[in-house]
């Protein structure tokens, strides 16, 4: 294998690993913030216990999030020196400010976790607000660089040299706003759904006491409300993303939809496999005019097809499947959240039925899968480019001959960290069941 493919494999795996922890870092800190707020407003101790236990879980994840973030940050320069050379000249500012956001998160996280017993209630909320703000800003700033890779602006290439640099045009590139909202909303949604899963899993246990059930139900409801709001927002934002792709990256849209011929009244293909020979999606369901409507706002709108572009610039066509899975998961999650919340409101006095709880347990893992599919879609869908239209992935990569051995070493590291994280989470929460916290004398929750 050549060093380009190995670099892609190593970096892709590292990102896929890091994104789990980064997403939860953004989503769960927001949830802790809400739990602290509810604790403060309602004076209900359950929410204090909730914030404490979520923080414990988050602190464990942070033990992997910080080093994995360090790894991808440094690895960018190691594996993609050609890319970072242009990044350094054109879009270095968000990377640099991101470090400060990360600093803010790390400093206040240390304060919130290690000095909790010495902080007043208000200071505790202020610290956790800074943690959540730092985490979200980090995600937002890093995503600016990602959006710039898709819709690069703010520079020109003349005879291989970078000229006419305008850092602000690079930051305010056309896809920046829409993808940043998408990344943040889906992170909030995933953080909330993971907590939905955990609460639903606990509610499935028949042995828990009434007090424990009440605690888990409060957690479930809080997480469901946030999850629903974030996923509804994601759906409307997904629509704007289609419009942005239509304007800026028509080739990516065509690959995502498996659309070969440029046409008005373009159909939306759901599932199926794009077949290059037949120039059509085979085995899917087509909704006439729907793609035109999504992309242009009118079913008469013309959507460009793959055939408008040279075939050597096409991304791999399996991105159609990734795209469908991402969207399908998103809509299923909205449906589940609406159903569960509706049920809870209509049958207020009764418990949620077992089958519904089982369905709710799947939402966290599903949501995380959606995130992974989305990232893979976005980055594979940009191939063969690293900076769309400017730099090919092959000219961005390192030419070091050592990437193979590094791939092996890093994969072993990730597997070890995943196993360890699982063990530590299990060990801690088995040793510290929720009833202990609930029954602890007042004031000892923290």
């Amino acid at each position: 294998m050549d060093s380009v493919l190995l670099s892609r494999m190593l970096f892709g795996t590292s990102m896929a690993f890091h994104i789990i922890f980064a997403t939860l870092g953004v989503g769960v800190t927001l949830m802790i913030f809400f739990a602290e707020i509810l604790h403060w407003i309602k004076k209900d101790r359950d929410y204090g216990v909730m914030a404490k236990r979520w923080t414990k879980g988050f602190a464990i994840l942070l033990g992997v999030a910080i080093p994995s973030g360090t790894i991808v940050g440094v690895m960018l320069s190691l594996l993609w020196p050609g890319f970072m050379e242009i990044v350094g000249k054109v879009i270095a500012v968000p990377f640099q400010i991101e470090i400060f956001a990360f600093f803010l998160e790390a400093v206040f996280m240390s304060i919130y976790v290690y000095a909790a017993d010495r902080l007043s209630n208000v200071m505790r909320i202020v610290s956790v607000a800074f943690v959540a703000f730092g985490a979200s800003s980090s995600a937002f700033l890093i995503n600016i660089a990602h959006s710039w890779m898709n819709t690069p602006r703010g520079f020109d290439v003349v005879d291989g040299a970078i000229t006419d640099i305008d850092p602000w045009a690079a930051v305010l590139n056309p896809s920046m706003a829409v993808t940043s909202k998408h990344v943040l909303a889906t992170a909030y949604m995933t953080g909330a759904f993971v907590l939905v899963s955990i609460a639903a899993f606990r509610l499935l246990r028949k042995t828990s006491s009434g007090q424990e059930r009440a605690y888990h139900k409060k957690g479930l409801m809080l997480a469901l409300v946030i999850a629903l709001l974030a996923s509804l927002y994601t759906a409307t934002n997904g629509h704007s993303t289609a419009g942005m792709l239509h304007e800026e990256m028509p080739l990516k849209l065509a690959a995502a939809e498996g659309l070969f011929e440029t046409q008005a009244n373009a159909p939306l293909a759901i599932m199926g496999i794009p077949d290059v020979e037949a120039e059509a999606v085979v085995g899917g369901i087509e909704i006439p005019g729907m793609l035109s409507w999504l992309a242009t706002g009118s079913s008469d709108g013309v959507v460009q097809g793959l055939n408008d572009f040279p075939q050597d610039e096409w991304p791999p066509l399996f991105v159609h499947t990734l795209f469908n899975l991402m969207v399908g998961i998103g809509f299923s999650l909205i449906g589940i959240a609406v159903l569960a919340l509706g049920w809870a409101i209509v049958f207020r006095r009764r418990n949620l039925p077992t089958w519904l709880l089982v369905v709710l347990v799947t939402t966290g893992p599903l949501s995380m899968l959606g995130i992974e599919f989305g990232w893979i879609f976005s980055c594979v869908g940009r191939q063969p480019w690293t900076i769309y239209g400017f730099q090919l992935t092959s000219s961005a990569a390192t030419n070091s001959g050592n990437v193979g051995i590094l791939f092996f070493l890093f994969i072993s590291l990730y597997i070890m960290l995943l196993v360890m994280t699982g063990l530590v989470l299990r060990y801690y929460f088995a040793r510290n069941p929720v009833y202990k916290d609930l029954q602890a004398p007042q004031g000892e929750a923290f």
Partner: protein, 347 residues
């Protein structure tokens, strides 16, 4: 001063802060391991220092890498080709260390394992990092153009590598012993103070010995650096004076039980290290990697440079207050410092 020099000065400041913070952080890990078998507070104290501070130290490493790529994008190519192996090993070790740092805080049964992991990585990580310095002074790079590589056989048989590593490790242990003795004083533990003071007394002369041999091995390896070093001899002389003051402060009379002013010793040793590392860096100019790459070749676009400066100014304005709170909670608060057990910190 031209723009590339302003940029490299900022990088030097970051590198200096990280070197000091990292030396203390990694050194504390080593001391915690060294004293883990004996009945002393030295381990608990080292761990209490480490618990809240390693995250902040770690962020400085990322800041340093991002600053290098931001100010000197031309250096990215060399990082990604020549330096990929040492950097990757450092990353893997840091990942293991950080993860266990957190895991052992949550699950007490890992504490023993952590003590060994942070002790061993506390020596390996700085040794690998300092090994990058001799690679940058030239003479160890083979191949041409796109296909360059490090001549490991020549590197590993070069005395420069070992004097640098020896210097890096003794400095790390010396600095961390000094800081921990100061930290022990602040915590009111005179007994632990005596333990770390003794270590500092032993390590001081050894550090000086390695500093001088590292300079001597530069003479055949990098004559171009030595020329500038002779020009700025006064910086190194001042550094020696600071070292002498700092070291002697360990015997200055004090109002406490045991002699020595740990705070003065820390400040002057840091100052000494600052002067010497500035002299070393200054003599390295204009090369980032001799003779391939100068700060001028690698420098970013001037427009970007200006925006980066604004960014650092804004970021620091935001962070300094956060640091003040952090410092007061973990380095100054008597309630935290004097907690009986190693886990006197909430949850």
């Amino acid at each position: 001063m031209t723009e590339p020099y302003v940029a490299i000065l900022i990088i030097w400041v970051f590198l200096f802060v990280y070197a000091i913070a990292g030396a203390i952080d990694f050194g504390a890990g080593f001391w915690a391991m060294y004293y883990s078998k004996k009945e002393t507070n030295a381990t608990i104290l080292a761990n209490r220092y480490l618990t809240p501070s390693w995250e902040v130290t770690n962020v400085f490493l990322v800041l340093l890498v991002i600053a290098i790529v931001g100010f000197f994008p031309g250096a990215a190519f060399y990082m990604g080709t020549l330096m990929i192996l040492p950097f990757s090993f450092v990353l893997i070790l840091i990942a293991i260390r950080s993860a266990f740092m957190v895991f052992s805080f949550i699950v007490k049964k890992y504490t023993k394992l952590l003590v060994y992991i942070s002790g061993i990585t506390g020596l390996l990580i700085p040794a690998l990092m300092i090994a990058i310095l001799p690679m940058a002074i030239g003479g160890f790079i083979g191949g041409t153009g796109e296909r360059q590589y490090i001549l490991f056989d020549q590197l590993f048989t070069s005395p420069t590598l070992y004097t640098h590593i020896g210097f890096g490790l003794t400095t790390e242990l010396f600095l961390s012993a000094l800081l921990l003795s100061d930290y022990a004083r602040e915590s009111g533990s005179e007994e632990t103070y005596a333990v770390y003071r003794k270590n500092a007394i032993i390590l001081g002369p050894i550090t000086l010995f390695f500093a001088i041999t590292a300079l001597l091995t530069l003479i055949p390896q990098a004559p171009w650096m030595v020329e500038t070093m002779i020009d700025i001899w006064y910086l190194f002389a001042l550094s020696l004076v600071a070292a002498a003051i700092g070291y002697s402060a360990l015997w200055w009379p004090s109002k406490k039980q045991k002699p020595g002013r740990a705070r003065v010793a820390v400040i002057f040793t840091v100052l000494q290290f600052g002067l010497a590392s500035f002299g070393y860096g200054y003599s390295h100019m204009p090369y980032i990697l001799y003779p391939e790459l100068t700060v001028f070749d690698a420098f970013t676009d001037p427009t970007m440079f200006r925006w980066l400066l604004y960014g650092y100014a804004g970021g620091l304005a935001l962070l300094v207050p956060a640091f003040v709170i952090f410092w007061r909670l973990f380095m100054k608060d008597k309630k935290y410092l004097q907690a009986e057990s190693g886990e006197g910190n909430g949850y």
